[in-house]
Symmetry: C2
Subunit: 139 residues, 2 copies
Amino acid sequence: MEQRISLVTLGVVNLGRATEFYRALGWSPGVVIDDEVVFFQAGGAIVGLWDRGKLAADSAVTDRGGWGGITLAHNVGSPAEVDDVIAQARAAGARIGREPAATDWGGYSGVFIDPDGHPWEVAHNPGWSLDETGAVRLA
Amino acid sequence: MEQRISLVTLGVVNLGRATEFYRALGWSPGVVIDDEVVFFQAGGAIVGLWDRGKLAADSAVTDRGGWGGITLAHNVGSPAEVDDVIAQARAAGARIGREPAATDWGGYSGVFIDPDGHPWEVAHNPGWSLDETGAVRLA
């Protein structure tokens, strides 16, 4: 198995609400299938939005609700950009789980929670490189 | 907010067990921090393994256990490669949630569940392109 992720699918309760939230963050859907699935090109990967119950069944897991041990992160080039993205998420209606601040690992980050409870850390990590395509590399 | 994912952190109960599982799939850790966090370079993104309780606290969410509405996928170039990766996951001790088979969306996929309950769909989607770097693009 190669070392890569192709697709991250986020289970949602209301596809329209979730799509509008990501649109408000500046994202544009690349493909919409039968008003049921929305795919966004996300760098060299894809982010999907799909009904959470259908995703659970398709994934062969039981859904007890709430968070399930996966957190996404979006890295940016500076602390100021962290502030900007968190402000944008707040304006889009996200709950801000953690206000932007210096972290104990030497970076700067904040957390927003999307309308379906999926947390995104927005981070500046000076130890990782971020190229012009948005790809992130370990030091 | 740019359209990309930098990092996917998987909450784990036992870091050693989780690391060995991904090693058995052929992955090599890029950075290990204080025997507490393991990062794998995963294409232009990064996959992290970290204590699930600490990840929940850092993510400002409550953990009720179980799956939480996020499923990862690993796309490959052919149905035969789906079979190969699912066989590799089975040999590494994964639960196979769904045996490889043709899907109603015109592809071929199976699902394995990692030792911490995180599902991965392994898929061949003839409608998406997969380049030599492993990047996936919507049609």
